[in-house]
Symmetry: C2
Subunit: 121 residues, 2 copies
DNA sequence: TTGCATTGTTAGTATATGCTAACTTATATT
DNA sequence: AATATAAGTTAGCATATACTAACAATGCAA
């Protein structure tokens, strides 16, 4: 599948925005991530080429099956780590920022193991 | 201080090698990390310029105080995460690889909190 | 001494990632 | 209609990071 941290973050953001917005456009992603729209434009082009998203002619972004799978995986990791850190006493903002980096670097094996550990705590 | 993940890894590697080798040279670092010596040469030049290492005319690399502080911090994180993951049941090789990425991305606050949590487990 | 092996350096390449600037297009406002 | 605003695109730049290729320096070995 060969997906980058950056691409994972974009997909997660599209997924997250889709929960609260009726449609998601490039400019919404840029706003959410604090990036310039040119950067997002290029990133969306790459995601289109890898078929992780489709974009309607109105500019509405949709996740494909593969895009959704990646986004859901990263989102699950993000939520798990963020909530766990907050439970342990870390400030919510810091927990969220750390989760945002953590979510990309763990192997599936470590993630599943930590998930089990957390649920037994 | 403004230190990159890459630089952190080099410093940690120098520190780690220093535990088992009488002297550490560029070529030892390259061997350890599986990088080309040209890459290490450039990285060592940057670490010299930032005064995180000094290099004798024989090519022996020494950590400065700031370099050692960074290296020890990263090393501590690495060991903590690796051992914790192994304790939870993750394969040692995977645990080590994951620790290698984890060690760079956590805030001090989250690290200290997780450290406390682990020691209470 | 000649020459190979080891170590280190430099220049130039490639990829990933985000930025600025300039442009296009479509919509909306006067 | 003329212009202004919003959204998207493209080209070119900058940084980080490792690579290949070519070269320099040092030391051992025939």
């Amino acid at each position: 599948m060969n997906i980058n941290e950056s691409a994972e973050n974009y997909l997660e953001t599209i997924y997250r925005l889709g929960k609260s917005h009726p449609v998601v456009r490039s400019v919404d992603v840029a706003e959410e991530l604090g990036y310039k729209k040119s950067s997002v434009s290029v990133a969306m082009k790459n995601l289109r080429e890898k078929e992780h998203i489709t974009v309607s002619k109105e500019g509405f972004i949709q996740l494909t099956t593969s895009g959704r799978e990646i986004a859901e995986m990263i989102f699950e990791r993000h939520e798990l780590f963020k909530n766990w850190l907050v439970t342990l006493g870390v400030d919510a903002k810091i927990a969220s920022e750390d989760a945002c980096r953590l979510e990309h670097v763990l192997s599936k094996e470590s993630f599943e193991t930590i998930k089990k550990h957390i649920s037994n705590t």
